[in-house]
Structures are given as structure tokens and as C-alpha cells.
Amino acid sequence: MNWNKKDLLGLEELSKEELEHILATAESFKEVSTREIKKVPALRGKTVVNLFYEPSTRTRVSFEVAAKRLSADVINIATETSSVKKGETLIDTGRNIQALKADIIVMRHNYSGAAVMLARHVDISVVNAGDGWHEHPTQALLDIFTLKEKLGRIEGLQVAIVGDIAHSRVARSNIWGLTKLGAEVTVCAPKILIPPGIEEMGAKVSLNINEALKNADAVNVLRMQFERDELNAFPKQLEYFKEFGITKERLKEAKKGIVVMHPGPINRGVEMSSEVADGANSVILEQVTNGIAVRMAVLFLVAQARDINANTH
């Protein structure tokens, strides 16, 4: 397997082999974080720019830690305090970052498709850290990595994704990645949060949480973003918890050893009870640890692909 993509924009465009290659590379990188000196020189002299148009702490910090463990230099740009406020366009911002001789832009943007557009206008690598409702590839990769680590395989697994599917890039990337690797995905949410066309992506739909959990090997619980206007139409948090929240009682009816995931930050008592979040089935903190390894693998692969392309052209 030879990785030759200078960007990681989404999982939709990746082949099964490419997905497996990232996961295998991440497995090798995981060990680096267990060393006394948690650093390898693989990206020494490279500059990674974190360009975040949406507030994010965990994804940005995870990328920053990953880049630093590869010995890259990291620059964080939060757009609230940058020229973006003065009206600079995304493409101009990207070209300016390129003119600084940076090597990789890691971007979070509130518009779907922003990462694809940026990648088209710069020669340096672009890694999508979440674009609108479109994709959040590294989150899905770390979910899949954690699942594979826990259950030994992806092929043939039943995975339930519960929560605000309609507005979730995490759900979309997970569906692409999991189905390509041979898992079956069921999305579960109140009807207004199931987007049209989700079945064409290869996911089944369930409106009943007990039914969705019944045969699931794993459940990925998404954050309910009650700050969004669209959710005003939906009965509030307590009612959501009653209808869809993951509780100890509901897990008792599910498969023994069902893996419970959450991309964070958790709304305790909304998406799941504290007992479940801190319980034996939960792998939420392992996801955070694995996120570093997955992002190290992605940064390493895109940087290398760009170097190799530059030398052969």
C-alpha cells in the first residue's frame, strides 16, 4: 500500500486499503506516546498551522500534541483574533499561510466543503479537522481505531450511532469509514434529527433506542448541541435523555461488553448517564489517547506524500 494523498479531506474519498493503512500506521505511532521521551524526529523542520474558524479545544489540542510528538513546529490561529475578522477570504488566508512556508494546514470550518476548497487553492497539505455538517475524518478514524483495538475487528460489527445525526459530521465520517470496512451502521435519533438520504450512505435508521442497541457491538453517542437553533423545536434535555439517553438499564438489555463511545465533550445526564460515561463499557478516554496516534499517522502520511510528489515531479 502506497499512500499518495497530500490532503485528508474526508473518508468518503478513501478506499478500504487507504483506511486500513492509516489505522495500521496509527498502531505503530501509539507506542511513541508510551516512551519516556514522547517524541520522534519524523516531521522535524516542518510547520503545522492549526487554522480554526470554530471554537474547538480537544481537536485542536489533539492535533497540536500529535504534531509536537512528531517534532513539527505548531502555530495556532484562532480566527476570532485574526485578519479573518477584517474580511480576509479563506483562500487568501490559505495562500498567506503557504507563503509563510508552512507545510500542513489543519482546518476546522463551519462551512461544509471548506477543506476541499482550500486544498484546491494551495499546494501545501490540508487536513480537515471538521467542516460544517460534512466530515470530521480524524474523529471517525480514532473511533474506528478504538473500536478495532477493543473488539479486534471492524468487519461484521454492528455499530449504532445515536444523537443529532442531521447536524453531525462525526456521524457522516463514521458511516463512510465503518461501511467501507465492512461494519453495519444503524443511526438512531428523533425523527427530526434524521437527515434525508442517510440510507443511501449505507446506514439503517431506527427511531427507537432499545431497538438500535439490541444487536449492537458498539454505540457511538453524539453530543446533543442544544445551543443550535434547530433544536429549539425539539423537547429539551430531560425528555431527550428519557427517550434516547444511554443508561445502565438500557445497556443491560444490550450485548454484554457493548463498547460505548462519545467524541466529547459529554453532556452528562443528556446523552448518557454518568454511570455509563464512567462505567466499564466506556472507552471515552481511550478515544482521546488514540486520537493522538491517529492524528500523528495522518500528519506523517500527508507530509510524506507531499515530499515524495515534490521529488518525483
Binding site: H21, S28, N311
Partner: protein
Amino acid sequence: MREKAKILDPEAINRAMMRIAHEILEKNKGTESLCIIGIRNRGAYLAQRLAERIKKIDAADVPVGVLDITLYRDDLTLIASQPVVHKTEINFDISDKNLILVDDVLYSGRTIRAALDALVDFGRPKSIQLAVLIDRGHRELPIRADYVGKNIPTAQTETVEVRLHECDDKDEVVIIEK
């Protein structure tokens, strides 16, 4: 690509490994504070073989580790195809150990340079000694081996291929002419 000569057969490889095992024990006066780390891929198999031979001679278990040096290479951007990053598995503390670093072929010395950089990230061994099955010359860095299976003078247009039954179905060392 033409196979020019067979340098070692299975018996010769076995004898070389046995001799190196004896030399390691002689130089380090036994197995106390000894550990062996092989460089992926073939160095890792040779490290395992050395540990087995040492156990036969001295009835002692020596910890064995595997080192992947991809992330420490200085030629990552020069090679046409990407090397795959594999796992490093060193499940013991290397500090204050006499560490035997094992590889199949010693050539430019750059792999060993990368391995030395990697090892110091794991701790501070008392000493690092280098064991190789083949030393083919043409060093580009001031590095030498402490234990050598066989010295083979080669031309730079040739390559030396070590085949081991763990990954190649047979044991042999051949020179290949490009």
C-alpha cells in the same frame, strides 16, 4: 538483476550466529545486564536467534526488543516509495544495560545512526554494541560493528540480500548485480 554469488548457506549463517553469541558472552562476561534489540525487519529475527543461541550456551533469558527506525531516517524525502511505519516493541528498561543492536547488513551506516538516535529516546544504556550478519563496506558515517558474521567486499552497484526462513522461507545470503 542477476544473482552473482551465494555468500552464505544455512549452515554458515548458523555457525556465524553461534560464534557471535559466544563473542557477546565473552566480551560482556555473561548475560547479566545484557539485552538485545533487532532492527526491523531482518535484524529483529536475527536478534531473536541470537537470544536463543545465548540461552543454549548460558541457560539464561536475555530480553529481546524490536526497533523500527522509519521515523528516524534521514532519507525519508529521497526515496521514491514510502516505507511503512511498523511498531517498535521494547518492553523493558534499557537504562544501564549492555545493549546489543542487531541488523542484517551494515552498509552506509545510516540505519545504525538512526537506530542510535532512537535508542537514546528510550533510556541511557551502559553501552551499545553492534552485531551484523554481513559487513559490506562503503561506510558514509563513522560507525563500525563489534561483531560481524562475515565481511564481504562489494561494489556499490551490487546489493547484498539476506534471506531468513522467518520471512523468506529459506536461509541464505546472496550478492545481486543490478
